[in-house]
Every structure is written in structure tokens, then in C-alpha cells.
Symmetry: D4
Subunit: 217 residues, 8 copies
């Protein structure tokens, strides 16, 4: 038959699952969590979660919730089973919520994550101090707002795929992330591709996918 089985969920059942919290009521989120737990899901990440939703879930489940990044975690992060390490690098402190969305998504799907935060290109020595991690990563997520230059600089240093995440951090001519998005799309470094503004989840998911690709069969 035609219907494509929901491969990931089927395969990874009990490993990791992500709920997109935006636009869902606290009750809806509570109920989705409840049904997932019942199905044996061992780690559930909720992104873009309001504190109201966190409170609703907390009534019946143990949840770790971080107000700042708006991420909630029910259950335990699984043991990493990826091939290498996923580096999540972020330019500034305001980019952290998006970076954490990427990092925790990757962790939730079984990846060891190295966080390189506050490594914006205006203070290059901070980034260069981490050349080792960058050059040995399996895949890198580069998170930056404003001028978005981090992706190009990392892309030039690294030999692995770089997933660039523009963020809406900035003001004025940053236009809610457009400035960083355009910079990343125009990166003159090879091996860089881009996801939507603030889409930490998408980057973490793709990083995990790449980090779980087997070698020659």
C-alpha cells in the first residue's frame, strides 16, 4: 500500500518525542503528554511552552521547565547513541533560547551535545578558543541573530555540515531575523545550509538525523 509509516516514531518509540507548544492550550499540552506517557514514551520535550502549560503538566507529571528558553522536559533524556558529537554554537546570550531548543532536541533524540555559547564573531578569540571542538564535530548547529556572521566563520573552520539557524534577536534593520537569514543564505563557506528563523527544533532534528547516519553497509 501507499501509506508511508511514520518511520521515526515507529523506530524510536520510547526514545524521544517533541511537542510544539506554540498555539496549544495548557489542557491540550497536558493531554498530549498524558497520552504519550501512556504509550511508553520515555522522554518528551515540549518547545515554546508557556509557564501556564508547564503548570498544567506539573499537576500529573514530573516536568523540568525553563521559563527563559520556554522548554519543558518530561522524563529522562536517553543515552546518546549517535555516531559523533553535535556542536551547538550561539553568538550571543539572547540567542540562547533558540540554541537550547536545538541542543535539547538533539539530546532528546539521542545525541551528545557540546554547547559553545557567546562565541559571536566580534570577539573572535572566544570562538577560536574552541577550534578543537569545531574541527572534530560530526555536525554543527550555528545559531545567531543580527548579522548572522557566525555561520560563515564556523563554516570556514569546520569540515562537517553546518546547519545555520537565524534568530529574531536584534532591533532596527535586523527585521526580526531577516538580516541574519539573508547573511546565512549567502554564506560563502561551503557545507552550510539554513533553516527558518528561530527554528531551533528543525536544526536539532536534522543534526540528529545526520549524526545517526550509518556508514557503508
Amino acid at each position: 500500500g501507499f501509506a508511508k509509516p511514520d518511520y521515526h516514531r515507529a523506530l524510536r518509540q520510547g526514545i524521544g518525542e517533541v511537542i510544539y507548544g506554540a498555539g496549544k492550550t495548557p489542557e491540550q499540552i497536558h493531554d498530549i503528554v498524558a497520552s504519550m506517557v501512556q504509550q511508553g514514551q520515555k522522554s518528551i520535550l515540549i518547545t515554546r511552552m508557556s509557564s501556564e502549560a508547564a503548570e498544567a503538566v506539573e499537576q500529573d507529571f514530573i516536568i523540568k521547565y525553563d521559563k527563559y528558553s520556554r522548554i519543558g522536559l518530561v522524563g529522562e533524556i536517553p543515552e546518546p547513541d549517535g555516531i559523533g558529537k553535535v556542536v551547538v554554537a550561539a553568538a550571543g546570550t539572547s540567542d540562547l533560547p533558540v540554541a537550547e531548543e536545538a541542543a535539547q532536541t538533539a539530546e532528546c533524540f539521542g545525541n551528545e551535545v557540546i554547547r559553545l555559547y557567546d562565541v559571536g564573531v566580534a570577539g573572535l578569540h572566544r570562538l577560536l578558543a574552541h577550534r578543537e571542538e569545531i574541527m572534530t564535530a560530526r555536525v554543527i548547529v550555528a545559531v545567531a541573530g543580527m548579522e548572522g556572521a557566525l555561520a560563515s566563520v564556523i563554516g570556514g573552520l569546520a569540515d562537517c555540515p553546518v546547519i545555520a539557524v537565524p534568530t529574531s534577536v536584534g532591533y532596527g534593520a535586523s527585521f526580526g531575523g531577516v538580516s541574519a537569514l539573508l547573511a546565512m543564505l549567502n554564506s560563502c563557506a561551503s557545507g552550510v545550509s539554513v533553516v527558518n528563523i528561530d527554528n531551533g527544533f528543525g536544526a536539532g532534528y536534522l543534526a540528529s538525523m545526520i549524526n545517526h547516519m550509518e556508514g557503508k553497509r
Copy 2:
């Protein structure tokens, strides 16, 4: 010391190299080719090459040149040594020059490429006839202009990374590829990332990188 060795070139010396022909004079291109050949380069791809440049190169070297996709090849495509297959899918016939840029770049770097052309979503059966190739690919390059829907549909069918390439094909409100670019950035399918409009080379390069990643060490 600090200086990062040009890893790929060092490692792959003699395997594949790509020249970006736009904005270079025929003489410049001729001379770059000459110097590469002298260094032992076995396959050289020139993208966005004018027919004048092709003629200049032809004076001293054997070149296969295709006026339509504006791609020239000096030397032989190397034996593929990638882990799996790279699928390059294109929506319409006008997208072919960009698709070929991606496909031949990947081939030039040692990948087996499967071409799925004219599989635009307005005639879904054409795409669905190739479900097998899509579901067994190691990495997919999805090339489309106009509404750029191909990336989402393929992203939903495939379980591997999908690199979306918007093209400037279209008229009116396609705005030179912006329409397709935005659609691809907003793809609701997971595992999709995007490169610049018409950047077939970047997609082919990244696809090759992913297709050469080794498994657990």
C-alpha cells in the same frame, strides 16, 4: 600554528574540483584550469560558464560543455566512493540547469547520482512513481522554482536529509526565486534545510559531504 589546512583539497587532491565561472573572464578561467591540470587535478567542473569561456578552455584542453546548463567538464568524473546514493529531484524542465549544477557537482566529488526530473507536485503521480528511490536515498537535493512545494512533499516521504534549492524560475510574484525560497524555509517537513536561490553547487557539495560521512569509528 593556526592556519587551517584546506582539508578537502588536501585529502581529495586529484579527485574533483569546481570553478565558479560567473564574473570571471574566459582568460581567467582558462588559466585556472591550466594550473589545476598541472597540479594533477583529474576532474574539473566549471559552473556558470559562458560559451566564450568554454571556447577559451577548448584551445588547450578537452572539455565537455553544455550551453543550456552552462556547465563545463575537463577530465573524467571519478569513480563514486560515497556511502549511498544522492538523489537530485527537480520540479520542472526550467529548473534543470540548477539541478545539473547540483548533480554534476556531486558526481565530480565522487557520488552516484540518481536524477528525478520533471516531478513537480502539480502531477503527483510522477513523483510517487519514484517512491523507492526517494525512500532509499542517502541524501536528496530538491530543486524547484515558483511555489517550491517539491521540498516539502519529498521531505514528508523521505527519512534522510533533504537539501532544498529554490530556483529563480518563474515570473510575476515568484520574484526571482523568493517565492520558492520562502516556501522551502517554511517547510513543515522535518529534515529539510535550504541553500541560496540557484545554488546548485552548494547543494551538491553538501550532499557529497553528507554522503561521505563515515559510520561509527
Copy 3:
């Protein structure tokens, strides 16, 4: 004389009427409803209605109000008298308010409506499971935000007019619906036309108009 009679209202008096609730005070809406009821209007739909407005109307009339889609209905939906069936398809759950605006508008004007919800193209099997409805519809309303690909895919499957409604659902580079709007305008499927972002009413109205067109006279 010149003045064009308000044809629809004249003809359909008592059948259906739609009030655009945005930017009207609860009192204004209450009073418009009151005057319509007095004129013998049997079904009145109020779109983009605040809960305050619903409460104001409720003081004097029986109203069914849905907070989520912000639609209120005073009176009964008329018996459908259209020629065929109107299909309203929506990509994601966040698109439902707009889809309901289209669907209930069409119902209010005397159409049988088939709802196909959560049929986004990233999970194609969900849409293809409804091929029958799509291929036998008289007219289809395709509602989608983000990459807006649904209109093209449906346009390729169907042989009837497809009215595409982009929604403001999404974030980042969705730009409040621009991404979906552009995708739909650039649809390579024939028979697709587009209305304004979030304009469920306009789509439902036009669908009804097409569904009530008589055959050869």
C-alpha cells in the same frame, strides 16, 4: 436608473448573511444582528467575533459561538441547495479558524461542505486517503499557512476550481502569511486562484457562488 440592486440579498433574503465582526463594537454587532433578525433573516454568521460581542448578542438572541475560530451563528444553517459539494481542506490544526470561516460561510449560503483537515503535504498519505472527495468536488477551498503547498498538490489532483487561502500561521520567514500567499500565486497547477491572507469568508463566498451556477439555460 443606474443603481445596481443588491442582487444576492434580494434573491436569497432569509437564507444567509455574514457579518464581518472585526473592528465593530459588541453593541454595533448586537444591533446589526437585531435588525437582520427583524428583516426575517434566518441564518446569520458573524466572523472574527470577540467573546464580548458574543455575550452582547446572547442577551437577546440564541447564538452558537466558538471562541477558537471566533465564529458565531444566530439562527439555523439553511438546507444546502448547491449543485455539488464544496470541499474545504486545511493543512494544519492552526489553520482551522480560517478553514472554519470558509466552511461555515459556505454552509450559511446553502452548500454541503466536506471538511478535510490536517492534510498537510508533509504527510502525503493523509491527503491521498481523500482522493475520492477531491476528485468529485464541485469546488475546493485549500487553506494553508507556512509553505502553502497544499493548493498546488490539490490543484494537481482535482479537476474543479481550487480557491487557495493563505493563512498567517507560521513564524519567522512565513512573514504573516506572505510565504504561503506567494506559493499559492505561483502554483504550477491550473485552475487555482487566490484570495487574501486569512480570508476564509471570501473563499467560502466564492465557492458558494460557483456551486450555485446553473448549467445550460
Copy 4:
């Protein structure tokens, strides 16, 4: 099986077919025409056709070609078999190429077409002189560049579907048709939907589709 038969072509074989000439070489167009004629196609319209392409086709076929609207016709326009009349209205003389693309596409698919040209809203009496045609049309195509007001005014006068076609006619802040496109999308008249800038073909095709819809079965 799954594959959707190409319904229109199957049904109408020999009636009408349209080739999109842009981006095709004269030889390609000649060959497509040749193969269609061989398959028994009785009328073939070629849109956006260069005069070089017209000359290439003329070598082997009888073609009527209009340099100004860039439309070529091989064979005979079929007898109209639509239910009512299709009105094609255009604001200014510069809009005529797009209007003709719509009109001749509709004719090619078997519709009687009434042309109302040079009826821009800055001289309202010209439009109002044709109230009769507007109010009795089955479907109207409204073609305008610059401020694109024609669609709204006609939409207010007519009781049938109005397909608005923005054109790239204008200069300065018309931005290649964006001004007209936005005006048409924001039309406050009900029953108006929009196709891409300069997409006369799309409007003519949809108009034909609506004009061939049967009544109650």
C-alpha cells in the same frame, strides 16, 4: 492504480492545447507543435512566443502570429461549447497582451469571449457603458496594471466570479505588478480571486473551467 489520468487532455483531445513558449527554443516549440498535430490536436495556442519561434513553426505549419501579444495559433479555434459568455475586461492598452492571452486561451478551450478593452476606472463612463455585458457574464477576467482598481469596480457590478489578473504594466511604484496584485488581493468586492502577475493563461483556463461546469446532475 494511483496515477491520475490527465483528465482535460483526455476528454478534450483535439479541442485545445496551450504551449508555454517562454524559455523554449524555436526548435523545441516547432517539435512540440509537430507532435501535437500528429496526435490530432486541432487547435494549438502558443503563449509568450518569440517571432523566431513563430518563424520556425511557420516552416511546416500554418500559424497566425501576433508579435504584440506574442501569441501564436496553429489550427482553428473550436466552436464554443461553454454554458455562458466569458468577459475579458482590460484597463489600458498596455494590458492587452495579457488580456489577449486570457481571451485566446478561453477561446482555445471552447468559450465565447467578449472583449471589453480600455475600460480603466479613471474614465468610469467607458466601463459603465458595458454594464449589460458585465451583469450577464458567466465569468469575468479583469486585467489591469498600475493601481489594479478595475477588479474591485467590476466585482461590485457583477454577480459572477471575477478572476483578477494583475499586469506588470506601469512604472515606479508599480513594482512590476505588485501594486496591482496587492490591490486585487485586497478587493472589498466579493467573488473576486486573483492569479499571478501577467498570468493571462491561468485566468483564461480557470474561466473556461467555470464556464463548462454543468448544472445539477
Copy 5:
């Protein structure tokens, strides 16, 4: 010396003055009013005034305040001394706050104003019922959001200057007034010029200036 005397205020002292209320605190507005009254100003219009500011002024002065259009008036409107009549036409009811800003500004500067409201082009008979006023006006202010077609239609009917005011009324692709602004800038009717989005004051001021221009000296 160089300094240009503030001509209007000097000449019209005591006639009319307008305060732009946006971004001023209630106290600031109160104090400006107080100082103007002390200088003998007989009519003071405050535009974009918050109800808090109105209350602050009310403590010491008699003010007529309209919450909806956010306009306050201290003192009496002067006797009109313009040459002809200023027509202020508005397309929809949501455009009224801006239309009133224009109308009351003109009145405040000594003009007789004729209001033609709810004359949007989708119901042309409403506008045409006022042909007389339009054709005998000295100057016309045309206020419209969404597709902004009113300016072109009035510009075609009238033989006097038409000042077009786009409004931010609308949703989706109206982009906060951009759609109407572009339509008005592209008006194919002669004699139409445009002011900023929602700039009722600027239009009323310019209309008054034109209406007070003397004939041959």
C-alpha cells in the same frame, strides 16, 4: 535676515491650530493647550489623542472628545472663509477616524467640509449618487484602505485636485496600508497626489491651503 516667519500661525492667529497628540503625555498636551488658549487661540484640534489626555485637558478646559476618531476640540470651529468646498470621501467605516482627522483639520482652518462616507468602489452607486458634490468641489480628500481604488475613481470623475490618503485599514496583504498607498501612487487618473498612510491631518491641511488660494492678483 534669514529666518522664515511662521507665516500661517502669524496670519491666522486665533483661527485654528492642530496638536499632534501621538507620543505626548497627557500633561504635555494639557500644557500646550493651556499656553495656546492663553495666546488667544480660538480653536484647537488635538489629533491622535488618548482618552487619558482628554481627561487631563478636561480638568481645566471645555473639550469635545471623540474616543473613536481620537480627536479632541477645544474652543469653537471658526467660520469657514475658504473659496469653495472641501469634500472628504471615505471608502469604508473603518476609514472614518482618518477621514475625520482630515475633515476636522480642514474645518479648524476655516473650510466648509462635505463628508461623503461609505462610498467604497465595490458599490459604485453609492459614490455615483454624489456626482454633483464631486464635480463641484474645490478640492477632494479621498480616504481609503485595502485596495485604495477610491482615489482613482474620484480622480476620474473630478476636475479638481484630489489628495489621496491611504489608511492602514485591512488585514493580510494590505500590509498596514501599503496596498492602498501603492494603488494611489499608481493612479491613472490625473490630478491625484498622495500623503502618508493615515495622514488625515496632512491631507486636511493641504486641502485648506488649496482652498484658500486667491485668484488673479
Copy 6:
């Protein structure tokens, strides 16, 4: 009856007429001129005229043609009969074609025109040297590209209506006139209104209309 007489042409028959040359073939322009001359038109201005068109007209008529501003004049400029003087001010030499379009249009309709050219605000003394002309003008046309500041500065100096014409002069972030257009729309000087980018004709026409308005009847 309804039809609005073409007032201007009727009244001014033989005085002045303007042909918009863009998008018309040399033959078309020749023939329009011929028919106007036959109807007794004494001065015909052709704007945006190609030199081919000028040659075509020259075969049968005496024409003054300026290649640089692309303006042609058949017949004699009429004696000015306006009430005051029209000042046309231009910022830079590249703005002259548009300024001339405005100036000659105004002359063609019977106005005395004072040209103030090369008075851009970066050299304020050039503009201030003409304070007298600015302060005694009946109406001013301010033509500028790039930053478009001229309109605001003149608007601040003058007490008459200022018609601002943005031009497409500039490069980079001037975006074909958008920069100047936005600056002019946002002018903080009262009495300034704006026409389309490069629309010298529209400004000259409106200036003439204002300059011919009679005083109290």
C-alpha cells in the same frame, strides 16, 4: 445622461495635450499626433519618446526633440494664462529629465515656469539663493532622487502646495526611487504631497490645475 464629458480636452481644445510615449510604436505616436493636429491641437507634448518615434513624427511634422529628457514638442507652447508662477526645483543633474517632463507639461498647459536646477540639499546655499522664488511661487514641484530631502526643505520654506516627485536616480539602497519616495511621504513639512516615482507629467499637470484655480466667485 451619466457620461462625464472629457472636461479638460473640451475646454482647452487647441491649447495643450500630452501623449505618453512609453510602450507606443513610432507609427502609433505618429498617427496620434497627426489626428491631434487635424483636430486643431496647437501644442502637443510627447513624453518618454524614443528617438525612433521622433524621427517618425518628423517625417510629416515639425518637432523639437530632446534626446536626453526624451521629450518632443509639436507646435508652439501656448501663452501662459495661469494665476501665478510654477517653480520646478530639481536636486541633481540626473533628475533633469523628470524635472523637464514636469516643467514642459506645465508650460504646455499654459503656465509660466521657473526652473531651479541643481539645488540639492547637500549644498544648501544653492537652494537658499532662491528663497525669493520659493516664497512667492503659486505652486512648487520638487524633483529629487536618492535621499529625496529636497521636498522637506522646500516644504519648510514655502507657503504654497509642494508636489514632490521622487526619481529613480541613484544606486544601491536607492532601490529605483523607493528611498526618495519614502522620504517624501514622510516629510515633516506641511503642504507636501507626492506622485509616483519619475512621474514628472503628473506633477506638472497637477501644478497647472492648482495654478489655474480661480479665486472667490
Copy 7:
């Protein structure tokens, strides 16, 4: 070694420091201030500071806080040690918060600042009254929203570097500062460069840098 010492802080230790308050919690700001004071910092400027943050700091430190410009100052402004004077000119009163950010930043880094406020170009005499200050300044910061013409006019009068700061002041087609930004980028006056919309800090910092550059060594 590679790491670049943080030159300014090292050199100026104790002189001046600026905290960017936006997006930081009151506690974070309090703590940064505390740690700076402990390190001997003598003057600390906090820009874009909420009143909540000011209250938090006030618990432990003496702070001057201005609600309107959202600037807080802990400690004393240092004695100016720059070479000349920094002029900060602002067009309108709504631009003052940004102008103050620039002025106080410059003061905090040891510059004498001359404020020229409310010198918008629509009332040129106000600006020209300050020709002396403008022509003798070492560096000028020109702050303006709306049409942003101030930078060009000052750039034409001055012989020193002019740093233009567009502000988000305005409405409608000012597009949150884009209008002023474009005008400033297109300035035809030499010696003008531009920083981000509302970036008073960046302008004050750069002005200070230029004002502290030594002459020939």
C-alpha cells in the same frame, strides 16, 4: 598568543562602561552593575533600561534614571578628555531618547557634547542658527526619523565626519525607521556614514573613538 586583549576596557578601566539593558532581567542588570562597581568602574551607563531594572539597581546603588529616554547612570560622568567637541543633533522631540543614548554614551566615554535638539529640516532657520557649532565640531551625530533629511543637510554644512542615526520615529510609510535609514544611506553629502536604526549607543561610541584619535605621532 592570538587572543586580542579587550583594549578599550583595559585602557579606560574606571572611566566609562555601557550596559545594553534590553532583554536583560532587573536582577541581571543589578548584578552586572554590582560586579563593575566592585572592579572600580567609576561611571556606568545603562541604556534601554526598564524602570523595574532601575528600581532593582537603586536598592544597592545611587542611580540617576530617566524614564523617558530609558537611560540610567551609576556613578559620575568622567571629565572630558577628547580632542574636540561632539555635536549631537536631533530632528524632532520624539528622536530625543535615541539622541540622549548617543550623547550620554559619548559623555560616559569622556567627550564634551553639544546638544542641538529640535532642528528638523522643515524649519531650516532652527538648524542654521547653529551653523557655528556645526562647522567647528570634531564629529557630529545626526539623529532623525521619518524622512531622515537632517543627515544630508548637516553633511552639506559640516567638514567633519557625520554619523547618521535613523530612528524608528514616525508612522505609516516610515516603516519603523526604514524610510530614514534609506535616506541616510543615500545621502548625497560626503562624509556621512550610517549606523542601525535607533542605535544611539553605536553612534556615541564611534563619535568618541574619532574624537579621541591622536594627531601625527
Copy 8:
């Protein structure tokens, strides 16, 4: 009196002058050169000069002309008399025409210029090899297209003013330099300001101005 003397030309008479060649005919350029030479000008730079213009000038004067950067030089570059060195850094070879416009403008006005070309951030070692020049420069011009990251990285390394010049180099989402422009405006490095896209002249002029500023008087 008011008129501001053209200070630079007066002071530097005979030193350097720049003609903006775009939009001037060969004859016009020839004549401006002739008149400048007659006035004793010793070095004349012509930017954006066509080869036709160069030929016209060559008839009567000795000119060095570079077709690639479109720059012509009549006379001799003066001895540098600036205080320090001006560094002009460019990211890629396609940026060289703009970089040369900046460098030669600075030389023409009496500055020693150090060129750092092909130092794009995707190969950071190339840039870092020049840390010495960057950290000892008096002022730096950073020229880059595409993602424009060079300005931020240099801004982070340098302690002097950095003038960023975005170039129109790139394709697709570089949008003719908008991508680089936005990145530079959003630079998180302090001391960076921006000029118009491709405005090498403006950057060179401002760099010269800063490099000639005297120390404490």
C-alpha cells in the same frame, strides 16, 4: 554672509578631485576634466567611467584607465599627507572594483593605502595573517558582498573606525547588496558604520577625512 565656501576644494585645490562618471556622456566627462586641468587640478579620479569616456578623455589628456574597476586617473596621485594608514580590506575578488574605488579615492586625497584583498571570513587564516595591519590602521574600509561578515570580524579585531561598504556582488538572496548591507548595519562590533551599497568613493572620502584629522590643538 551665509554661503558655505566649498571648503575641501578650496583648501585642497590641486590635490585631488573625483568625478562621478555614471550617467555622464563621454563629452561631458572630457569637458569637466579639461576645465579642472585648466584650473590647476593635479590629480583627477573618474569613477564608474565607461571605456568610451576614457577614450574621449585620452584624445587630449594622459589617462590611466582600468576597464575592470572602471576607474580613470588623470595626473599624478599626490604624496600622502595623512596621519596614519588607511587599510582597504575586501572579501572576494568580485568586490575589487568597489575596493579600488575606495582605495584610489583615498590615495587621490593624500593617503597611504594598504590593500588587503581576498580576505573573506570563510578562510579566516587569510585575514588573521594580517592582524598586524588591522590593529595598527588609522581607519579601515571593509568591502564585502554576499553575507557581509567581513565588517564584523574586522570590527572585532580593530580599535579604529571601520567603514563598511556592502557590495552588490552575489546572486539569489543577496538581492543586489541588501544582504551585505543589513549584515553590516547589524554588526555587533563597535566602531562600525556603513555607507551605501557599492559606494567605494564615499568610504574612501570619509576614511581620508578621518585620517587627516589633527590632534589636540
